[in-house]
Structures are given as C-alpha cells and as structure tokens.
Point group: C2
C-alpha cells in the first residue's frame, strides 16, 4: 500500500465519485478550540465515502472478472456503493443481506440493480453463503475493507482534503475495521510526512483503541448507536498500517456523537450520521492534543433513517456550546 496506489485510484474513480466540498465553521472552531476543516463525505454519491473504495475495486476488474460479476455482504453503505459501481460498468452484482435489514436499505440496494440474497442472521453465516455463491458462480468478492483496492479508494478522500488544505497539523477519521483510516493515513503521510493521524472510535466499539494498546488485534462486543462502526476487531490488512501511521485512537461517547450531530445540523445545516460524526465529536469535545492549530476531519457519511435517531433525546442534551 503506497501513496502512488491512491493517486492511481483518484484517476480511476473520478467518473463515479464526487469531489466533495471541504467546509469550515467559525462557531465550530470556537467551540473546539482548533481550526477544523471538514471533508464532507455525507454529500458523496450514495451518502458515504464507501463509493470511493467500491468504485476503485470494481473499476480495477479485468473484462473477464467483470463478466463473472461481483458479490458483497453488507447491510450498510458498502452494499449500495458496490451496487452503484457494478451498475456503472454493467457487471452483475449480488448483495448478501440479513432478511431483517431495514426495508429502506433492501429496497435501495435492489433499486441500484443488484440482486439481493437474504439470509437468517440468527441461523446462517453470511460468509458461508457468500463463499458458496462464489464457488458456484465465480463472482469476485468485494470485501468491505480487507482489500488494497478498497483501502486505496478510501484514501482518496484524504488526498483531496490535503490537496485543498496543505497545511493541516493533523487528520482524524472514524475507525471501524480501519479501511478508511488506513487509506487516509497513507495518503496524508505521503503528501505531508509530518502530519499527525488520529483515529476516532465510539467508546462502545473500541476494538482498534484496545488493539493498538495491546499491539495485537483484539475482539470486542460492540454496543454503540454508530451502526457503521460496530466492528468487533480491526482488519488483518488494515491493522499493521494503523500501527505504523496512527498516533492514537480517541474515544467518544454516544451522547457526544448525538450532541455533535445536533451541532452540525443546527449550526452548519448539514446531516451527518452517528458513524460519520465520531471524528468531529473528538474535535468538538477537545480530545485531540491541545497544541494542534488545524485539523482535517472526515465526515464519513450522512445516511440516517429519521426514526433511528432519538431526536427528542438529541435536542434535550445540555447545550454545551
């Protein structure tokens, strides 16, 4: 994994991905005590950064591989991203999703032209179903994070951000299995070797935090409102990259995420999902080193069912800012 792979990915994904805007807010900066530059992946096609990795993978396929089609297992943003990319190149796409996934997600995925295969998540294993499907059809697996093409694609978000804000002291992004953070760390350190990299994780899904402390991949039982960050452990491919490039992972509570969503919504008028807001919450709650003058923050997505979030609770939080 090198910055050159990310530079290649930028050219490859350009037809399918937005160059999302970088925004800032004087009021956020005052509250956070640091100049903050938001990379707004909530405005990305499909509503999250996931299209970056998915399109880099799908657009890297050989004609023979495209012919065989792609398959992914995901109940979230990755599934829709793979479906969008596959449709773009005219490849068959199959998504393995739990039968009890939100209807909106099942329908959206099918709406992008993918074949949705459902399974009973209490009795069946999505990995086994996918492996069997691949054995039978020869389809290419679009793994959500354990693939250099995915990591390089995700890294393009940071490459764009650093290009626009070349003087950042630090970069922080949400961490789940580490694909986004690993790609962004490689891109940022490649462009600006002195930049400091911080991961941001929910307290209730602190697998990467604990694993970096222990020096090995540990497993946790995630419990957080940030549904996209409920990983049990960092990825095989991504963990060594994080060990090498990430200074530390800071932890954020669910209430801090809720309050940060409310801040971005009411002050900046933008919607960010819980998983997408965790790095912004780390800045807003001053969990990054005090000496930082400027920080780049990846707002990684904005896909949210309005009923999912406890709006009443959100608005009743103490007005800390």
């Amino acid at each position: 994994m090198t910055p050159a792979l990310i530079a290649e990915a930028r050219g490859r994904i350009a037809p399918l991905c937005q160059r999302t805007p970088v925004w800032s807010s004087r009021r956020f900066d005052e509250a956070a005590g640091v100049r903050t530059f938001f990379k707004c992946e909530n405005f990305q096609k499909g509503g999250s950064f996931k299209i970056r990795g998915a399109s880099n993978l799908v657009l890297s396929l050989s004609p023979a591989e495209r012919e065989r089609g792609v398959v992914a297992y995901s109940s979230g943003n990755h599934a829709q991203a793979v479906a969008i990319a596959a449709r773009h190149v005219g490849a068959q796409c199959t998504i393995v999703m739990p039968a009890d996934a939100p209807r909106s997600k099942l329908e959206a995925t099918a709406g992008y032209g993918a074949t949705v295969v459902t399974y009973d998540r209490f009795r069946e294993s999505r990995e086994e179903i996918t492996t069997e499907f691949i054995r039978r059809t020869g389809a290419v697996l679009a793994h959500p994070f354990n693939d250099p093409r995915i990591v390089a694609g995700h890294g393009t978000a940071a490459a764009e951000l650093i290009e626009e804000c070349p003087d950042l002291d630090a970069l922080t992004s949400p961490v789940s299995s580490g694909g986004l953070l690993a790609g962004c760390a490689i891109a940022a350190k490649g462009a600006r070797p002195g930049i400091r990299i911080f991961g941001a994780e929910p307290e209730g899904a602190n697998d990467t935090f604990l694993s970096l402390q222990a020096g090995k991949r540990l497993t946790v039982k995630p419990d957080t409102i940030a549904d996209g960050l409920r990983s049990a452990s960092p990825g095989e491919l991504t963990f060594p990259i994080l060990q090498r490039l990430v200074e530390t992972v800071v932890l954020v509570t669910d209430d801090e995420m809720r309050a940060t969503i409310a801040f971005l919504l009411t002050r900046m008028k933008i919607l960010v999902e819980p998983s997408g807001v965790v790095a912004a919450a780390a800045a807003l709650y001053r969990k990054l080193p005090v000496e930082l003058k400027s920080v780049g923050v990846i707002l990684s997505g904005g896909n949210l069912d309005l009923e999912e979030l406890s709006w009443g609770r959100l608005s009743s939080l103490p007005p800390a800012f």
Copy 2:
C-alpha cells in the same frame, strides 16, 4: 427599484455575505419532474437570506446615520441579520423582541452585540415601542421588508443564481411580505426577461395569493408551521412589484413542507426550515406548470430548533418518493 440597484447591492454586501452554493439532486429532479437548481441560503451567514437585505441597508447608511444607530423589530432571522451588519460597521443596534421569544433567539441576538428591548406582545405594540425609541434616539429603522435597500439586498440571491444558471425557465421563492420575492423577481427579469416567476406560500398564510387574485392587498390570519411566513398581508412597497412580475403564487400544505424537509434532509443531507422549504415543496409536489424544463428554487433559510419540528410526524409521512 431596478436591476441596477441590485447590482450595486452585490458589491456593497460582498464583505458580509456568502456567495452561497447552487446545488442540485438527481433524485429530487426525478421526483419533481423538472431540473431544479437550489440556491442554498440556509448556508448563508446567520442561517438565512436576511443578511443580504440587512447588510445592504446598514452598509448604505451615511456616517451620520451610523452614529445614530439602527433599530429593528423582529422575533426572527431579520433581527439577527441587522445585529450582525450593525456590529460589522460598529453601529449601535437595538432589537425590539417579544419577551416570550425563544431564549435561543434572544440570546443569539444579544450575542451579536445588539441591545435587546423586550415587550409584552399581548399588551404592547412593537411598532409603538420602536417609534418612541426612534423619536427619543434618532435611530434609523431597519424595516424588515418595506425599504428598497432591503428588497435590493434580497434580490442579490437571484442575481447570483441566474449568473450561475443563465438558462432557467422559471424562478420560485417563498413569499411572506414579499421582500425576497420582489427583489428576486427584479433581478431575474432584469437578467433574463423571459423567465417566469412564481411565489410559493403556505396554504395557511395565503395573503399574497389572495391579494394578487383580488388585485389589492388583503389581510388574513396566518396559521402555518412556517413561522417566517406568517405575514398577514403583502407589503406596501413589495405588492405592486409582485403584481407586475409574478405569474402566480402556488400554495403548499404544512405536511408537504414537512415531507420536503425530510426529503432534503435524508437525500441531500441539508437542513432547511419550514419557511425556507416552501418553494422546494411547490416543485416537489408538481404545483408549477408541467412544461417547465428547469427551475431555480430559493431555499431561504435553515434556522430551526430541533424540538420545534415534529420529527416523529415528519418521519411517519407516507414515503411518497
């Protein structure tokens, strides 16, 4: 009122106002059946277009007038806009607000350096209090709409939009007392004489709709969730402009506004307040002529207390789109 006044205003307000982005959404266009270009005044300084008129007025004052200070009566976005503009030029600013206005608005206005004078809206008249204040201090009144400097300032929003999208068939904006729509109509017709202009009003505050039909200014008792559009009648200055330039006013229900807020929030990830969304709702619910190919829509503001909107009700609306 001429397009030249608006061109002058553009130069004058540039130090204080954002050139807000123009956004579009393929999914909105599909649902609305027309290419729609949103002028995002919800991202404007202060959270609404009001800073355009307020800063044009305040920055037009002579040194002697600045010395006397400005006064405005408003419980909404206009008050904060005048306070921001006055602070910018170092003028004293007094805002007359109801004592029971939301604490957040009282505090925000004071936070911009204005002196807030409260009154009992059941027993006192804000006009009388303001008139007495002006008699005593010589302060300049910043009227919210009945002033050519305000109308010209608001028109800059449409001037920017037409500059960016010169081929629009039509323009639509929310109507309250008519300052925004009058200014935008003058700017748009000046740049593109063939453009069709449509106002959008809540069914529960249809004073301009009825007044245009009757050919004279009528008075209604407003009842709508769109708190910024609860005008009882069109303005003296603005009504003749609307009669001359506006083709018709289309009406939108409160539920259509709620559903449009949800659409813009979940699909485009942006927050627009009920008053700000009414023109977008007119497009989404296909109330504009079917032959239009492209329409410019002013999203006029995004200031919303999260508890004000019935989010539960919002998310339980039929998923029409």
